[in-house]
């Protein structure tokens, strides 16, 4: 048998059910690996040894009693943005370094109910604001493929943990590419569902109209297993959609003959690195061999997605982050001399530079005299971007392109130039503005670093996306490549 940490979720589940493996055994195996190797990658902020082992024992007892479940006894990690009752939840910030939530996020509760075993909480850019993990208060995560390069962000800890085999799967969140870009840079599979598919309750808010949680796994099949558990209507999230959740694993094996895949000319123009373009073309050729039909399409307003995003996301963030005031929970400054001083020093000391920048941009864009020029304008552009996709989906089933403009870059390479960092998400952001589902799949290597293929689906068409992704993974082995040698 291959090493335990090379097993996929589906393989673990099957061995657990056949009683060839116990949940305690696989959980302990991962806890040992984390204890030995987390200092190398810094992908976990908190590790819950005791909680994991007791959940594993409970799962083993349930399995012995005849219980069955896709995630029962299967270990995984949560991004440290999901509130976990009794377990520190930092969101990568000094502001929440002491925050122990009194409740579980809906995603956490659902996965707990399904018997999944949480190993710990993964590192991330502060308040999910970043594309390199360099903004975390707890230090940057290192890319397991090359320790001098970034893992991407903001779900960089989750991506690195899965790539380094310190978790078989993890949850992430994606506001402008925060699942897909780190998945691409670390060579794993990541899915951002349709806005409203997964509850945001208990997921610390960054930009509420864009935030969406999703799975980060080794394979599309595993992503389907996790999405089955994470999805569904939740009365506690007023933007949660009340549409039945299909079994995402049921359609994985369908042939994709005749699937129409649109290639936006804006994603393949001369701004795309030629080496990256050839990797993406090679991946598309594989899909063509499976019977997919490639169709040229246009998304004429896609160049405006980064500008519109950097009004809408900071505006929502400036509002969401106003709750961190040092009064009810989280960090409070020492010896405040009055209430104003309490608020201002708590926030000035508790937030990092990038978070402050975004609060400022947001507050400025919403301020009197600028609201129409910035916020209203961005919301109008947002509609144009959505309409581009709606028109495209009249002609095609799926849209494909690169996930990121380049493979993982070196630490410090983007310097402290926020705009250079923002352009890292040039291919992912439009999807969030439109609210569509999208995946990143391992699709090749450039200079020994992974690159990602992005597939974008129509609203609530996660089944179709996962089907195409799974079929791609039956004829390619990029998702099986590993930076781990032991």
């Amino acid at each position: 048998m291959k090493p335990l940490h090379e097993l996929t979720l589906a393989e673990i589940q099957s061995l657990l059910q056949q009683k060839q493996l116990s949940s305690r055994e696989i959980t302990q195996h991962y806890l040992d690996r984390i204890a030995q190797q987390n200092s190398t990658y810094n992908c976990y902020i908190s590790i819950d040894d005791q909680g994991a082992l007791s959940a594993a024992d409970a799962a083993d007892a349930a399995i012995a009693g005849g219980a069955n479940g896709a995630l029962l006894g299967v270990p995984f990690a949560h991004k440290d943005i999901f509130c976990t009752q009794g377990i520190k939840t930092t969101c990568g910030s000094k502001m929440l370094d002491n925050f122990i939530p009194p409740y579980d996020a809906t995603v956490v509760a659902k996965m707990k109910a399904d018997g999944a075993v949480m190993l710990g909480k993964t590192n991330m850019d502060e308040f999910a604001m970043g594309s390199s993990n360099e903004t975390s208060y707890f230090g940057a995560v290192k890319n397991p493929w090359d320790l001098d390069t970034v893992p991407g962000g903001s779900s960089g800890g989750s991506a690195a943990a899965v790539a380094a085999r310190l978790a078989p799967a993890a949850t992430g969140t994606d506001t402008g590419g925060s699942i897909r870009q780190p998945a691409a840079l670390c060579g794993i599979t990541g899915l951002k569902p349709t806005y409203g598919r997964v509850s945001r309750y208990g997921m610390i808010a960054f930009a509420s109209s864009l935030d969406q949680a999703g799975p980060m796994t080794r394979t599309a099949e595993d992503a389907a297993l996790l999405l089955n558990s994470m999805s569904g209507h939740d009365a506690k999230d007023s933007t949660s959609t009340d549409i039945a959740v299909p079994d995402y694993t049921a359609t994985l094996n369908q042939p994709i003959k005749g699937l129409k895949i649109g290639l936006p000319k804006e994603y393949f123009d001369d701004r795309l690195d030629t080496a990256m373009a050839s990797k993406v073309q090679a991946a598309l050729a594989e899909l063509e061999k499976l019977g997919a039909v490639l169709v040229d399409i246009e998304l004429p307003n896609s160049a405006l997605s980064v500008p519109a995003y950097y009004v809408i996301a900071p505006a929502e963030a400036s509002s969401n982050l106003s709750r961190f005031d040092g009064v009810r929970y989280g960090y409070r400054c020492e010896n405040p001399k009055d209430l104003e001083d309490l608020y201002t020093r708590t926030r000035t000391e508790g937030f990092g530079d990038e978070v402050k920048r975004r609060i400022l941009v947001g507050a400025y864009a919403l301020s009197a005299g600028y609201y129409d020029a910035y916020y209203r304008k961005a919301q109008q552009v947002r509609r144009l971007i959505k309409q581009d996709f709606v028109s495209a989906f009249e002609k095609v089933d799926i849209i494909a392109g690169p996930t990121s403009p380049s493979p993982a870059f070196k630490f410090g390479e983007k310097g402290d130039d926020p705009v250079a960092m923002y352009l890292e998400d040039i291919y992912t952001i439009a999807v969030n503005l439109a609210g569509l589902p999208a995946m990143s799949l391992p699709a090749g290597m450039m200079n020994n670093m992974p690159v990602g293929l992005q597939l974008v689906g129509n609203y609530f068409a996660e089944q179709q996306l996962l089907n195409a992704a799974h079929q791609f993974q039956t004829v390619t082995d990029w998702h099986q490549q590993s930076p781990v040698t032991d």
């Binding site: 925050f99 122990i100 939530p101 009194p102 806005y195 109209s209 009365a235 933007t239 959609t241 160049a303 405006l304 980064v306 500008p307 519109a308 950097y310 009004v311 400036s318 106003s322 005031d325 040092g326 009064v327 009810r328 929970y329 989280g330 409070r332 405040p336 001399k337 009055d338 209430l339 104003e340 309490l342 201002t344 020093r345 926030r347 000035t348 402050k356 920048r357 609060i359 400022l360 941009v361 507050a363 400025y364 864009a365 301020s367 020029a373 209203r376 304008k377 919301q379 109008q380 552009v381 947002r382 509609r383 144009l384 959505k386 402290d416 130039d417 926020p418 705009v419 439109a434 609210g435």
Partner: protein, 99 residues
């Protein structure tokens, strides 16, 4: 669109952040670059386009206007306040506001 260090200091004050002096000059430079990026939007005509706040154009779902009370309000309050920086008799403590 440029932004001055003075505008940064004022906006920071509104957001309950303190950024002034040399910091404000530095932050103004970086935020100026972000606003330059954002200004690319101005090139497109949106005069007849309805603003979009929700990608599914969903509206706020409302529930019946009935209060939901916890079974044990005092215990619930105490549990929630365990993580507060300073409390007394179920109240959050802040520096004195009124003399």
């Amino acid at each position: 669109m440029t932004i001055t260090p003075e505008q940064i200091a004022i906006t920071a004050g509104l957001a309950k952040l303190k950024i002034d002096g040399d910091d404000a000059i530095e932050v103004a430079k970086r935020i100026g670059a972000i606003l330059e990026l954002v200004d690319q939007m101005q090139a497109v005509d949106t005069s007849n386009v309805e603003p979009m706040a929700n990608s599914l154009d969903a509206v706020q779902r409302l529930r019946a206007d009935n209060a939901i009370r916890p079974e044990n309000p005092i215990e619930t309050r105490d549990a929630l306040q365990q993580i507060a920086p300073a409390i007394e008799e179920g109240l959050f403590l802040v520096p004195k506001v009124i003399d």
